[in-house]
Amino acid sequence: MNTSFLRVSVWVYLAIFFAYLLGPLVIMSVTAFNSSEFPRATPWECLTFDWFSALFQDQRILNGIKNSLIIGLGTVVLSVAMGLAGALMLTQIWPKLRATYYTIIIAPILIPGVVLGISTLVFWDRINRFLGLGADSFLSNGIFLTVIGQSTFIASYCMLVLVARLQRYDVALTEAALDLGATHAQAFRKILLPFMRPAIASAAVLAFLASFENYNTTTFTFGEYPTLTIELAQKVRYGITPAISALAFIIVVLTVFFALLNEAGIKRKEVVAAARRQATVGEMTGKVRLPGFFTGNAAAVVLVVFAIATISVVGTATVYSPAQCIADVKEQKRLEAEKRIQELRKKREEQRKQREAEQAEQGEAQQSAPKPSNNSGFGNVFAPNTLSGEGEDDAPETDTDEQPSGGNGGFGGAFDPNSLQSPSD
């Protein structure tokens, strides 16, 4: 009884945890396919792929991606090289200095990115001036500064990854290579570097991702080369469209794809290794029969399903046209809006008549009393005409079931039925 309750709670906890983790991504992905002008999942209007084409026609976004890629590659090269050098140094350094050295080389991770950004800018500007170079020199180039600035802390991440692998390295291997006649350079290239390759690959991926998503350091150093994150941040400031959701969706899909690819690759190696271990010498030299790529490899199966799904979605997108649907939705909205306007007009007419009747009863004394609507302290800000540019999207929401009664005075004319006329006409 108690244990089953515990088990259920664990599942509930897991469900909440993953909903928290993945929910925003799912919702954002959904918005990329909704024809609504503003990124949202509900109300669902029409399935559309137009945001993807809108994305690929946005020159600023494309330029941002290009800059991010260039800077990412530069950062990978610089950070991995510096990280490897730092890691090797850590294993070679006099043991008493090791802790101090480690602290120093890890420090950039702990320093806020903005500080690194500003200091990079200031430092290289000083160098630039010291060398007597102009404002357009290589040293004040946005790409150069961003690569240098990001590498200051990304190199530390790389070093951590590389040190972990290096600690498993047996120095006797280098000694064995030397003993067999290799020079130090040969031992490094033929023994240590191949051993480090997996860690170097991990460090490179890590460095690229860290560079790609970096904002706070880059924001000081990008100069004339805004990266994707900078462009997105600037876009958000002036209102966003689902084209950004489309971009995010592409990134999510690519991430999942490469994660699956990696997982399938690892699984495949394991399967092959297991097969090799089980095979006897005769089997190995004779007929080498490795099991299929998919045997015991769930990741590979998912990967293939994933690829098929992608292809079919892209295929659908090329032939699918949501124009009719969008037109229908527009028409429907227009009709709905019109209907409500009619209702509201009717109500207003009734109220007006009622008021006139009351006024007639109460006589002239009441005529100077202020009218409840259109008299708020907000002046003309919420005047009906200011809404005209907002588009018809807002029409069904703003007019829900508000009455143009005295209680609405604080909102100015926002809920005045007249304000709906201009968009719907």
Binding site: A172, E175, A176, L178, L180, G181, A182, R276
Partner: protein, 370 residues
């Protein structure tokens, strides 16, 4: 058979800070010999090996290989190849690539390397295993690959740092024979480091017994075993019963020793110490368990010891009798099992007998830790 290249250590000192790892070592190793350094762990034998291979510069003294002083010559320029304790096979290279690494360094073509690898794989009885990774081989196979890799470099001197210590007993015994055979076949000098006296005794032409950075004795295995020159060598190599005492009387190559608990006993003075021991010296007498025999009751004299049997055990090739002499002195006796009937003596007092030539006297000194 070629004469091979000899190795000489001249007044070799190696210090790490204040710690002296090797103290004034003088060793002449003949070309083509199988030479072992035998000692407990931490005695400096690996340090000597690293000095010979060039990973370590001696603090004082010289390492000569083939008469050439190796001072300032790096490990990659010395005519030595080292087999590491953990073998240090390159984990990412296939077996044949491992074996011919020294050729790759010299720029040999892949076909050449492959051919040489196949020859060496045949020699170490691992044909058709060239395309495996080291991790796919068994311990003994890896061992042989490491040997092949070292031999591929065509060294004048092969250095082996306890290469058999990770193997199980049967394989270790098998590899001993194999190593010795390979050494005879290639005819180069082998320098072997071990803490296992069995390995040293079975394989070596000569053995240096080391203790705490000092070389106690250099001799062939038989001499080390039968005629140890120090108490350490006597107690470290093989099992020995030790009797402490004082020299009572020196009679040429023999001496009478007053032991602390077992009375006056006679033994020969070890060759290295003859003429150096005089009456009144602190001395130790060693008698191996198998050198004792059970004598008729009541026999007395200067080569009889009386003791009572505490327990007995059967080890297969021998019966071990654990006895207690006068004053609680523990004496172990091993009677070879030749199929004879063996009557239990547990709880009885027996008289043990030995022959003078099987008891050896050395000056008192440090014993090997149990």
């Amino acid at each position: 058979m070629s004469a091979g290249v000899g190795v000489d250590l001249e007044n070799l000192w190696i210090r790490f800070g204040d710690f002296v790892a090797v103290r004034d070592a003088n060793v002449n190793i003949n070309g083509g010999d199988f030479f072992s350094f035998l000692g407990p762990s931490g005695c400096g034998k690996t340090t000597i090996l690293r000095a010979v291979s060039g990973f370590l510069e001696p603090s004082e003294g010289n390492v000569l290989i083939g008469g050439n002083n190796m001072k300032g010559i790096g490990p990659n320029k010395r005519p030595t190849a080292l087999i590491f304790q953990n073998l240090a096979l390159f984990p990412l290279m296939k077996v044949w690539e491992n074996i011919t690494f020294s050729m790759e360094i010299k720029g040999a073509s892949s076909a050449e390397r492959r051919k040489r690898a196949d020859e060496l794989l045949d020699m170490i009885a691992l044909p058709d295993q060239g395309d495996k990774l080291p991790s796919e081989l068994s311990g003994g196979q890896r061992q042989r690959v490491a040997i092949a890799r070292a031999l591929c470099a065509e060294p004048d001197v092969l250095l082996l740092d306890e290469p058999l210590s990770a193997l199980d007993l049967k394989l270790r015994q098998h590899m001993r024979t194999e190593l010795r055979e390979i050494q005879k076949r290639v005819g180069i000098t082998f320098i072997y480091i071990t803490h296992d006296q069995g390995e040293a005794l079975t394989m070596s032409d000569d053995i240096a017994v080391m203790r705490a950075g000092v070389i106690d004795q250099i001799a062939d295995g038989k001499t080390i075993y039968n005629d140890p020159s120090t108490a350490f060598a006597a107690s470290f190599v093989g099992e020995n019963n030790v009797f402490r005492g004082k020299v009572k009387q020196v009679m040429g190559s023999e001496a009478l020793i007053t032991t602390n608990r077992s009375g006056d006993l006679v033994a020969r003075i070890s060759t290295a110490n003859q003429g150096k021991m005089k009456e009144g010296d602190e001395a130790m007498m060693f008698i191996r368990p198998e050198a004792f025999a059970i004598a008729p009751d009541g026999a007395t004299g200067d080569h009889f010891v009386t003791a009572s049997v505490t327990h007995e055990e059967f080890e297969g090739n021998v019966f071990n009798i654990f006895t207690e002499g006068e004053g609680g002195k523990e004496i172990k006796v091993s009677i070879p099992n030749l199929g004879q009937s063996f009557e239990s003596h547990t709880g009885q007092a027996i008289t043990l007998e030995y022959e003078t030539r099987n008891a050896v006297i050395v000056p008192a000194g440090e014993l090997a830790a149990e």
